[in-house]
């Protein structure tokens, strides 16, 4: 397996044509996954136990900036489900829209822990899901376009439909991906969870991700 292969999570379209260039994400970012949020857990936890599938994907740029997106396994991305709205007001008192940063150090940023909520998505079936951050970092920017175009979360999960841009502290920057599943781990996790969920549930498992192009 090459480095590139390890970094993929099988959500990329099958390319029959020769690869002209790797996508921006593949060229400059490493993928990592934080699953079963807000509680979290490591890969071995999910061999027998079911995850709540509230999973996020972290794209880490070589300059330490990270982009938080929903992971393909997230319940809100199940086929047949449509996301109807997104709210940045995560509690009565905390609204991610109020985040303002200044200077190159991004002073004034809201601080985020792995279990900090970033936004709440509402689906057409009435279900509401909180999307969590997954890592420790400063909030640099929420994806404001989601407010007017919530469907970007589904149609362009890994690019224009990102959730937030965050920046870990400089001294923690080398350890951002430490507690996360790698792309390879995540594939295993996903296969296992699909099996566990399909045995005990009639609901269609969160397998297909064909509309989740990169």
């Amino acid at each position: 397996m090459t480095m590139d292969d390890q970094n993929k999570d099988n959500t990329a379209p099958v390319k029959s044509l020769p690869v002209l260039c790797h996508s921006v994400v593949e060229r400059y970012f490493v993928r990592g996954y934080k699953v079963n949020l807000p509680k979290g857990g490591i890969l071995s936890d999910f061999c027998e136990a079911k995850s709540n599938m509230n999973d996020v994907r972290i794209l880490r740029h070589s300059n330490r900036i990270c982009i938080v997106t929903m992971a393909p396994t997230h319940p809100a991305l199940r086929p047949g489900t449509t996301i109807t709205s997104v709210s940045f007001k995560v509690t009565d008192k905390l609204d991610r829209s109020n985040n303002v940063v200044s200077g190159k150090r991004k002073r004034g940023a809201q601080w985020l822990n792995p279990s900090s909520p970033l936004c709440i998505v509402t689906c057409d079936d009435g279900a509401q899901h909180t999307v969590f951050c997954g890592i420790r970092a400063k909030l640099v920017e929420m994806n404001e376009r989601l407010l007017s175009k919530p469907k970007l979360l589904q149609s362009k999960t890994e690019t224009e439909g990102y959730v937030a841009i965050v920046m870990p502290k400089l001294e923690e920057a080398n350890h951002t991906m430490d507690g996360l599943l790698t792309a390879e781990d995540y594939l295993q996790y996903r296969l296992k969870q699909e099996t566990l969920h399909s045995v005990s549930s009639d609901k269609s498992p969160p397998t297909s991700d064909s509309n989740n192009k990169i």
Binding site: P13, L17, L20, C21, S23, V24, Y28, H61, N63, R64, I65, I67, V101, S102, G103, K104, K106, V140, E141, N143, R145, L152, K156, T159, E160, Y162, I165, M167
Partner: protein, 495 residues
Amino acid sequence: MNNTDAVKRWEETSNKFCVRCVLRHLCFDWIWVLRNESEITEHLKETFPEFLQHAVAGADSIDNANHQLKRQGSCHCCLGILESNFLQPCLKHIVDALSKESYQFATYQPQYFLPVQLQVFGLYSMKYFEEKYSDVLKKHNPTDVKEVFKALMEPILIEGINQERDPNGVLEISLHLKHVSTETNFLTHVSSKCNEKKTFNRKRPKNDEPTFTLARIRSAMLNLNDSELEKLCSIDLEPSVVGNVQLFHTAVFVGGRYNKYSRELPQTPWLVEGERKLVSSVQEYISTPIQKAFGADSYNFSTSGREDVDVRMLGNGRPFLIELINARQSKMDATQLTEISHQINGQNNDVSVHSLKVVSKSDCKKLKEGEEEKTKSYSAVCCFIYPPSPDSISKLEDLSKITNLELKQKTPIRVLHRRPLATRSRYVHAIKAERNSNDSRVFKLLLSTQAGTYVKEFVHGDFGRTTPSLGDLLSAEVDIIDLDVESVNLQWPPT
């Protein structure tokens, strides 16, 4: 005052002070203060016949030229700095320093640094003359020792250094004078009278002069009473000496344009946590030979804009400017400059320069002036991620109809770690696409933009953070394979 008193008074005075300082205190006059010691003595005699005639007559008969021998130690006012025999050694130090270096300079500018102790002896001598010569002193306003020293050195420098003297001279010659025996205990004593707590001056380098600043000594002197001052200053003094001579050439600027043909060479040294990431840089390839040719201690490299490591700089090249610090040479003729460009261009195939020119300081600002407004032309190889629809192809062909398209660009993610988050407005002035006949997914994009436009982000959209992106314009997902800067439209170097 009778004759005996006058003789006594004059004996004491000439024991303490040099005749130039006596003249400065008793009857200052620029014409006379610059003459030699025996002429000054004559002048004093004529000016104050009533008390000096008899007094100096005695001294005269011993040996006027040798009058210093009578004095114990150096002058208690100028610390020997204004005595004629001190001046030539100063020149010698300067000439020696110049001969050790290979400076080629057209004009120079001297700077004198005198011992701070002069402040204390200045006050001492003021009080002395006011007390002892109240009968002849009408107005008492002696000119500063430094001013007189400057004036005395001027003809000596002009004769000794065969170059033009210029207040804005390119070679700064700093002469540091010191008076050794009063440097430590004497100054510590005076300084202890200062009310203010010793404050640390953080800007001052550790190895620099002592912490007895002029301000501190002046403020301490306010608290010295007359008897303390008298006691402190009534000591034997050796003459001042030359501490050292520093030479510094003011900045020399070299302008030119460079091309870069590599996609692996950064513009400036690429350091991550102090560690070098790539072997060299455009900056180093260009600056090192120029620095050597001009014999400079160091340099600063600046350019009009910059390109990423994987972007080539083609066409007429990018304007650059090198500031040479303490160069040994400030002039190069066209042949020498051509020789330097050949040397730079012969190093490798990645970087070349042309139009090298020594530019004036006032021209330098033109490099950064209008950096934002200037137009830049790029060519980019781009591709459709998926085979393009007929709609996308027709939109591709219509790109050339676009003029002055306004972009809103958020700070690109790739630089967001070191720049503030902001949304900037930039203009794409014109775009044109050339399709590749072999591969329908590939096309070449020619565009001219306002300087400061992030072209890569315009093409791929940077997670939807640049709008509209090329992808938006084509209703397709596109990406950029290669980017070249074709021109930076700035008149440089100035003619």
